[in-house]
Amino acid sequence: MRGPAAAAALCLAAAVALHAAIDRWPAPAVDTPGLLYVRSPEAARRAALSYRGIAADVYWIRALQHFGSERLAGPGHVKDYSLLYPLLDLATTLDPYFSIAYRFGSIFLGEPYPGGPGRPDLAIALLKKGLAAQPAKWQYMQDLGFVYYWHLHDYHAAAEAFQRASEMPGAPNWMRPLAAVTLAEGGHRNASRALWTELAKSEEPWLRDSAVLRLAQLDAMDTMEAWKRAKDQGLNLPIPNDPSGTPFVLNPATGGIIVSPQSKLYPLPGQLEPPR
């Protein structure tokens, strides 16, 4: 028996050595599009039998990886988030109470290109699906308000969503004043700052991080305006850093400064449109 055991160990060692050797010649990289084998959420729900919870988790992890890999892909790669909504749709059909998939998913979907797909319409569709599953979930209604406010600049729809959220059981006290502020100061940066400041107090770390990023973007906009005003008055100011620490860059078209594509804050709302 020692002979075959030694032979098995020897062959395994050879396989390991060959594996290490093969790694020196990496396979040619091919930028293949992502693939989704099951596109129908209903088919996935049936196929998952009684294991829908874990199947939803798998699709959620795939959605995170798809978003992350596209967002962080290097230059030369055309960012394509086309699988994001189908993956989120699958995850939330398999688990209709998957709160984070609706909430985080709507943030991903609304994110302007190239940081995300720039599809607030799909973000709204996802949140409405969540509200259909859990009509009393004020958080979804609040997120809906944010999508209308931040991405679509539809302040009336945003105020209405905040108002409806404030009427739902368990909604925080600041929701009702938020609706009023949104309606009165829609489009004003101060109203926007009030919205994100409230969200920055959230218990959810991911929501807090998103709100902190938005607040930093608002600060960057303030700096850009102040710099342009000073320049128009004839002052010769150095180019400052944005709140993330990356220097602004000159915008030859306007003579002002804009957030650098290397900045964590890039792009600011409306700075870029996704490819159609």
Binding site: R46, L49, S50, Y51, R52, G53, I54, A56, D57, W60, I61, L64, Q65, D95, Y97, S99, I100, F104, E203, E204, P205, W206
Partner: protein, 268 residues
């Protein structure tokens, strides 16, 4: 009744001898491994995913044990001819069937109990150190006692699957029994669809057959409360009691059926 105990104990001992409980090691490794990796892959959903994974693995491992041991309970004894000396002892054929079923149920119960303890242990370590405000935002606490409801329903489901496997095992080969049991399990997951068959088919005969199948075949989907429990949705006690009564009635029907078939088998 006294003969059922020794038969059940023999089935349990055989399960131990066949290293059935090795699956517990796999379960433990899966949970601990996942709890380490999941945190890197998800956005703060570790506890939800570990609950999903733990309950799914508990159900799936139990299903494999119920089917692959259940199908051999009687047929292996017949194949090995060990059924002859057994039935020569003061034991009736119905007692033999009941003992076999009780033995496998005991194996499943021990298996489920250990998996549940492992799941709670992993959840305890996962939730430890996470600030209370963040835990307050979760749908359900990490060490939610309601998880036990899902485990209880998994046990009910497995008790029906075991009875189905045993029923087929009394007159069919292990291979066919496995196919039949798996088929009944899968069809039982879609049972609720049969009730709504009239929405897609016009034929009254087809609708009547579908309705009959709906009531006759076991409805396994009603034992699935995993998602509800993970999200903190209350599972009423009355629903649990009705499901337990349904499982008991179904198991009794299958066991009596198995006893009738086994009593008619000629071993001469």
């Amino acid at each position: 009744m006294s003969a059922i105990g020794p038969v059940a104990a023999a089935v349990f001992r055989e399960s131990v001898r066949d290293k059935v409980f090795y699956n517990l090691v796999l379960f433990g490794v899966l949970l601990v491994g996942a709890s380490i990796v999941i945190g890197q892959l998800t956005a703060g959903q570790d506890v939800k995913i570990i609950k999903d994974l733990g309950l799914a693995a508990t159900s799936l491992f139990g299903l494999f044990i119920a089917i692959f041991i259940g199908i051999n309970l009687v047929s292996k004894e017949v194949e090995r001819r060990s059924v002859y000396p057994l039935l020569a002892k003061p034991i009736t054929r119905p007692q033999f069937i009941a003992g076999k079923y009780a033995g496998l149920l005991l194996t499943l119960l021990v298996n489920l109990a250990v998996m549940t303890v492992a799941l709670y242990t992993v959840l305890y370590f996962l939730a430890r150190g996470i600030p209370a405000p963040i835990q307050g935002a979760w749908d359900a606490p990490a060490l939610d006692p309601a998880l036990l409801k899902a485990v209880a329903m998994i046990f009910l489901e497995l008790s029906v699957v075991t009875a189905v496997a045993l029923f087929f095992s009394t007159y069919s080969s292990p291979m066919l029994s496995a196919i039949f049991t798996l088929g009944v399990y899968v069809v039982g997951q879609f049972n609720a669809e049969l009730k709504r068959f009239d929405a897609i088919v016009d034929s009254p005969a087809a609708i009547a057959v579908a309705k009959a199948c709906y009531y006759v075949l076991p409805d396994f989907s009603r034992f699935d409360v995993k998602l509800a429990v993970v999200h903190g949705v209350p599972v009423p006690g009355a629903f649990m009691a009705a499901s337990a009564a349904y499982a008991a009635a179904y198991v009794a029907a299958l066991l009596f059926g198995a006893m009738v078939i086994f009593a008619r088998r000629d071993f001469k």
